[in-house]
Amino acid sequence: MESIITQFLNGFSVVAILMIAAVGLAVIFGVAGVINMAHGEFIMVGAYTAAVVGQLGGNTFIAIPVAFLVVALLGLVVERSIIQWIYDRPLETLLATWGVGIILQVVMKLIFGPELYYVGAPKILDGGFRTIGLLPFPWYRLFLIVIAIIIMIITYFVLFRSDLGLKVRAVRRNRTMAGCLGIDTAKVDMIIFAFGSGLAGVAGAVLAPIKSVSTTMGFPYAVDSFMVLVLGGVGSLWGVVAGSGLIGEAETILSFIYNSVIGKLLVFIFIVLAIRVFPKGLFGYHERT
């Protein structure tokens, strides 16, 4: 029983990891309508940024804003040079961003070499605190939960409580009408693409100390993030919360009862069934025509 309760706590940290990884993808997908296949690689670039910051003597707290800026800038460059020309052609954005992902992997390998990189956790987040379970709960995982909540709150304010957010939502509802009313829709797309990319960078920076850092690390995060979006529903922050919550808790509990392989399998089956019942996801946004 103790173990099950600890497992529930662990689940929160897994949920937090999923939320951190998925929110950038959700923002870009939900507003700009682009399925960013390079999302995993953006996370990877964020993790390498954290590795460089670490080698220069900084820690995760410094790496978070640096990774946000670096990857937001990268997103901006990608958007201006490639995506802005093909917004209305979803299939081509899919292929183009996939290509960007492959290019990023190769470029990072050329710069940093193929070996795994070391990123440590900040000293003050070493160790953990006692709970009712057998093991102490690591401070770093608590930190991840806090970061996930902060990111969700910031994203909420950017999208729902700011001038920019108002424009963003107007563009999302009806692009043509928003344009007619004087909103520069191209600029909104650009800013939101950069913002979403920056969030992926933050994900890379905070996940690096508990995972391994290599040029191929991005793919599993991209898969997890897509699962969260598909289940939770596209374009809704609540969707991200619900999707991560269900997948994260289900996977930790099922992995504990059975094992990791079966846990993952059952979660995938569950997602397929869920899409059958809610084709737009649990919190899918319904187009008004």
Binding site: V14, I17, L116, G120, L134, P138, S212, E251
Partner: protein, 434 residues
């Protein structure tokens, strides 16, 4: 002697003289020269991925083999000829391995190939080597249970990594084992033998679990491990999972003083990537560590760093790649011929070499290698302190007696030789004891 032949011969003579004076030059000079004197070199294929997902490890093997070839050529080559490496990049793709192997054998006419890392790539090229009767030298530790006339295996097989390690752990650490591995053939086969050894030596198996390849979220597994309270976590996780598992293990407050991780996988490369603080005190079983204190190893580590960078580390698979290249040179010298059958029946079997990790020998019967098992404890610099080593070398046993008492492989057995001769398609030396 006609004019053309005279010109050719004198060019060769001039070239040989030049080679003797430029042996200190970097490798590409030697290679360029070698191309100029086509036909007067012995071509050896090098088949390791230099791009793609497993390039990380395979490039280091490629480097170790080139280093050995440099050393061989600097010492005068083989049978008076220089060795010319023919390099192919199979891009980490299993099907490309077979294509490139075919190209090396048929187009470049190499005498042997040094190559492959994963079992999947070896299994895809083996039929090519068997069909065209060429020689593959394979440096990786692997799950064994294989035996081919055309392949020589210079890495550890499970009996060399486990037969001493598991009883040592039971005696010095504790009897309760929890096994965790990546979900594919190598960990499953390894754990089968670990379980047999636990049974034979009074150990206890308190859990066994597999994670999907590339899995990096281990909080659940660690929680399960803690609830079972084992003495040893026996890990056959590979790739990205290794680093993530060790990091998260310590973040949950478990150190080597509480539960020791014992593994046949984690090398100096992984301890560097996870940070020495996360590996501290955990145990690895191998036939070689960078910290091995022999003059041969000192020379190997120093020349590797001088050639490829001072931050490079060496590991067991690299050591095998290095010594198998030297053994191939000795075998060519011994056989006095570049024919595949001469290498297979005379040159390579029984070949010995003073490797960095101790003197090694290719077994005459099963084409695997006699090695010196060691147990290393990771220290605060990410290197391994050797806490135990065997005082003699250990015979490779591709079909472990504990699990397969009646199966063996013997290329010296007359009936097997007879079978190989009569059936040109049969390349396996296996037989069942009655």
């Amino acid at each position: 002697m006609n004019r053309r032949k005279f010109l050719k011969n004198s060019a060769v003579a001039a070239g040989t003289a030049a080679a003797a004076t430029i042996t200190d030059f970097p490798y590409f000079f030697v290679k360029r020269y070698a191309h100029a004197a086509e036909g007067d070199t012995i071509k050896v294929g090098i088949l390791h991925s230099l791009s793609g997902t497993i390039a990380i490890i395979e490039r280091s093997l490629h480097n170790a083999e080139l280093l050995a070839i440099d050393e061989i050529n600097a010492a005068g080559g083989v049978m008076g000829k220089m060795i010319e490496p023919v390099i192919e990049d199979p891009q980490s793709l299993v099907q490309v391995f077979a294509e490139k192997a075919k190209k090396l054998i048929l187009e470049d006419k190499v005498v042997a190939v040094l190559g492959c890392y994963t079992s999947a790539s070896r299994q895809s090229v083996l039929p090519v080597f068997e069909q065209h009767n060429n020689v593959l030298l394979y440096p990786t530790l692997y799950e064994a249970q294989e035996c081919s006339k055309n392949c020589f295996y210079t890495g550890c097989v499970p009996n060399q990594q486990l037969d001493d390690f598991v009883p040592w752990l039971i005696e010095n650490v504790g009897p309760k084992f929890y096994m965790i591995g990546s979900n594919y053939i190598y960990p499953k086969e390894t754990n089968r033998e670990v379980k047999a050894l636990l049974k034979a030596h009074g150990g206890e198996d308190v859990g066994e679990e597999y994670a999907p390849l590339g899995h990096t979220e281990f909080s659940t597994n660690i929680n399960k491990i803690a609830s079972k309270r084992p003495d040893v976590v026996f890990s056959d996780l590979v790739g990205d999972s290794v680093v993530a598992f060790y990091k998260q293990f310590r973040q949950f407050g478990i150190t080597a003083d509480d539960i020791i991780i014992g593994t046949p996988i984690t090398t100096e490369q992984e301890t560097a990537a996870m940070g020495p603080e996360n590996a501290l005190g955990h145990l690895t079983s191998f036939n070689y560590f960078q910290s091995v204190d022999t003059p041969e190893n000192k020379k190997f580590v120093e020349s590797y760093k001088a050639k490829f960078g001072k931050n490079e580390v060496t590991n067991a698979v690299m050591e095998a790649a290095y010594f198998q290249t030297h053994m191939l040179a000795q075998a060519l010298e011994k056989a006095g011929s570049t024919e595949a059958d001469a290498l297979i029946y005379e040159g390579l079997p029984g070949q010995e070499y003073m490797a960095p990790g101790g003197k090694v020998k290719i077994d005459e019967k099963n084409h695997h290698t006699w090695l010196w098992p060691k147990i290393g404890r990771a220290n605060e610099t990410g290197q391994f302190d050797i806490v135990w080593q065997r005082d003699d070398w250990v015979r490779p046993d591709p079909w472990v007696d504990l699990l397969y008492p009646n199966k063996d492989c013997d290329f010296t057995n007359p009936s097997v030789l007879e079978r190989l001769k009569s059936d040109s398609k049969d390349r396996s030396g296996t037989f069942e004891l009655s």
